[in-house]
């Protein structure tokens, strides 16, 4: 049985994994780069091992150093979280070789599903519908240009080894083809060390709906229903909800069965996600499988009533699934909002910096998974996700109302963030109706970025507060109490000149 786990990750997911381990009485080991010595996962774990310089290629992606830390700390198992090494088949294989349990699928399942073209073939054989388009991994620019010409625009260029929106470009106009192709390949090279890409027909007005699955080592595979993930910016999700507002019961069953079939096709083990692209007529196509925990897994946890990390660990222990498909039910509705340190008004530019104040929302139906604290400096080397707000309600309207309340209660000062942008999404007509596509952000940009008005009174109160704070500062520095001024004559003369005004 697993008694000690190394978490090969950082940020909110590392903290979240440690929480479930702690509940199970499992000791935890954090790993950290130079930039992360003060990060929450280091503070929260029982032990912490340094694994290298700040760039992730030298630390969180450095298999040797992580294995070294695992051996030094004598762990039974490694949990990879999401991102970093979580979908690296070599890492899964290496753990096995070293006699350490990898909490996730086998090298075989990861590599089969990680290579988009192979995955496509396996899905076709398993009877799971795939996106219309030309298969084949493309390594030369000429070949790519020819294929795009064959399929016809619009197309989506995707990094063959990719994920998480990196190395992905949508091409609509002929003149964008070359630059998009180059940008996608350059990004893929940087992120994955492989610049080959993959080209697919682009589906207009698509929904992005994924199914959570769990598979044990004894051939039991279940799905835990869907997550609607169509609200995206820069091809990255920012809001997810479950149940999907567009699925019917029948369609849900059908897609769930296909998700289970997809997992079975690679002898999957652990928690995984089958992503589907769904058009406006509810035709759906296999998009990819994420062979790890998803960022948005908590909405499933809330609505289905499970702890997915605990399930992962039980599976890695070799236990049979204790959940049965026919006993699972979606109770109520849950929404996740991803809080990023970024500037929505400046094309969602990441915004690292020091967090000076955080106000976290609490109360009925509200869960926050985060990792920042007051005084913490968000490093510039990693993903700008700083917290996830997960809200439950009796129905979709209830959880929408509650999410609005929670976002209003949520405050972060010191770094630019997207809290206000998220609040605007909750008030957007199209989102409220529930029939939005992956173009939602783009199509509602004006509404979503509109500045909130602050009425005259509110503005005056802001002005008065700054004024009174300034007066207090000057009073403290007034001549009568000059002993407090630390001998700073420059300050003094300025105060004097101010007082004379």
């Amino acid at each position: 049985m697993i008694k000690k786990v190394l978490v090969a990750n950082r940020g909110e997911i590392a903290v979240r994994i440690i929480r479930s381990c702690r509940e199970m009485g499992i000791r935890t080991v954090a790993v950290y780069s130079d930039a992360d010595r003060k990060a929450m996962h280091v503070l929260y774990a029982d032990e912490a091992h340094h694994i290298g310089p700040s760039p992730s290629s030298d630390s969180y992606l450095n298999i040797e150093n992580i294995i070294k830390a695992a051996k030094a700390s004598k762990v039974d198992a490694i949990h990879p979280g999401y991102g970093f090494l979580s979908e690296n088949p070599a890492f899964s294989a290496r753990c096995k070789k070293e006699g350490i349990i990898f909490i996730g699928p086998s090298e075989y399942a990861i590599s089969q599903m990680g290579e988009k073209i192979t995955a496509r073939k396996i899905m076709t054989n398993a009877g799971v519908p795939v996106v219309p388009g030309t298969p084949g991994k493309i390594s030369s620019e000429e070949e790519a240009l020819k294929i795009i010409e064959d399929i016809g625009l619009p197309v989506m260029i995707k990094a063959s080894a990719g994920g998480g929106g990196k190395g992905m470009r949508l091409v609509k106009k002929p003149k964008e083809v070359k630059s998009s192709l180059r940008a996608a390949r350059s990004e893929a090279k940087t992120a994955f060390g492989d610049d080959s890409v993959f080209i697919e027909k682009y589906i207009e007005s698509p929904h992005h709906i994924e199914f959570q699955i769990l598979a044990d080592q004894h051939g039991n595979v279940i799905h835990l229903f869907e997550r609607e993930c169509s609200v995206q910016r820069r091809h990255q999700k920012i809001i997810e909800e479950t149940p999907s507002p567009i699925l019917t019961g029948e369609k849900r069953r059908e897609m769930g069965d296909h998700a289970v079939a997809a997992a079975r096709a690679v002898n999957y083990e652990g928690a995984g996600t089958i992503e589907f692209i769904v058009d406006k007529d509810l035709n759906y196509y296999f998009l990819e499988m994420n062979t790890r925990l998803q960022v948005e897994h908590p909405i499933t946890e809330r609505v289905v009533g499970v702890d997915l990390v605990k399930e992962q660990i039980h599976i890695a222990n070799g236990w049979e699934l204790s959940l049965r498909q026919d006993e699972l039910k979606q109770n109520g509705h849950a929404i996740e909002c991803r809080v990023y340190a970024e500037d929505p008004e400046n094309n969602f530019m990441p915004a690292p910096g020091v967090v000076t104040h955080i106000g976290i929302p609490y109360g009925v139906g509200v869960r926050v998974d985060g990792y920042i604290y007051e005084g913490f400096e968000i490093p510039l080397f990693y993903d700008p996700l700083i917290a996830k707000l997960i809200v439950w309600g009796r129905d979709r309207n209830d959880s929408l109302e509650r999410t609005r309340r929670a976002l209003k209660e949520f405050t972060i000062a010191g770094v630019k963030n997207n809290l206000q942008f998220l609040e605007r999404i909750m008030n957007a007509e199209e989102f409220i109706k529930g029939d939005y596509t992956t173009h939602f952000i783009e199509q509602n940009r004006d509404f979503l970025l509109k500045e909130d008005t602050c009425d005259k009174t509110c503005e005056d109160v802001v002005i008065i507060t700054a004024f009174l704070e300034y007066l207090e500062k000057i009073r403290k520095a007034s001549p009568k109490e000059m002993t407090a001024i630390k001998n700073n004559w420059k300050d003094y003369s300025r105060v004097r000149s101010v007082l004379k005004l």
Partner: protein
């Protein structure tokens, strides 16, 4: 005691008329406010005005006269204006160069690719340079047609926040 306070494009005259404990009488551009004004902790205030509850947070800005003020859902840059500020504001204005534009890095990162050359004519929307930061690549584009008059960084170089990257000269003065 009165000052001018700047919020966005507005410059308001604020005067402290009276104070008794937490009760404060103040006028903004002649409009009088009686407030219940309480400090909760460093930089945090609770204000009751006609029983309406306002919570504000003040974060010191780049100098002693600048503040970032956060309300429930908004953030404002506020500046106290005195003779010194006015002098500096006037001086700064005269050094602005209208026909030139310097693209700077908004946050620290690394130069991935420079898409243009010095002297090259660029179109509106054309990508000039790609910077990577926090695992995200950002393309910096020209906002209007113009000419690249300087490139101040090279590929693969690390850049600091606000470091100058590319200098453009716009072809015409159209906004």
């Amino acid at each position: 005691m009165s000052y001018e306070v700047k919020l966005k494009n507005r410059v308001a005259n604020v005067e402290l008329i009276g104070q008794e404990g937490d009760k404060i009488l103040v006028a903004v551009d002649g409009k009088e406010y009686t407030l219940d004004f309480v400090k909760l902790s460093k930089g945090k205030y609770s204000i009751l005005y006609r029983n309406k509850s306002f919570n504000l947070e003040l974060i010191p800005g780049s100098n002693a006269k600048k503040y970032q003020v956060n309300t429930f859902n908004k953030s404002f840059d506020v500046e106290i204006i005195d003779a010194e500020s006015k002098y500096l504001a006037n001086r700064h204005k005269s050094t602005e160069d209208e026909g030139e534009s310097v693209i700077t890095a908004p946050i620290p990162g690394r130069v991935i690719k420079i898409m243009v050359e010095k002297g090259e004519e660029v179109e509106a929307g054309q990508t000039l340079i790609i910077i990577s930061a926090m695992k995200m690549e950002s393309e910096f584009k020209a906002s209007k047609p113009g000419v690249v008059i300087d490139i101040k960084v090279s590929e693969d170089q690390s850049v600091e926040a606000n470091q100058e990257l590319v200098v453009l000269e716009y072809a015409s003065e159209e906004a």
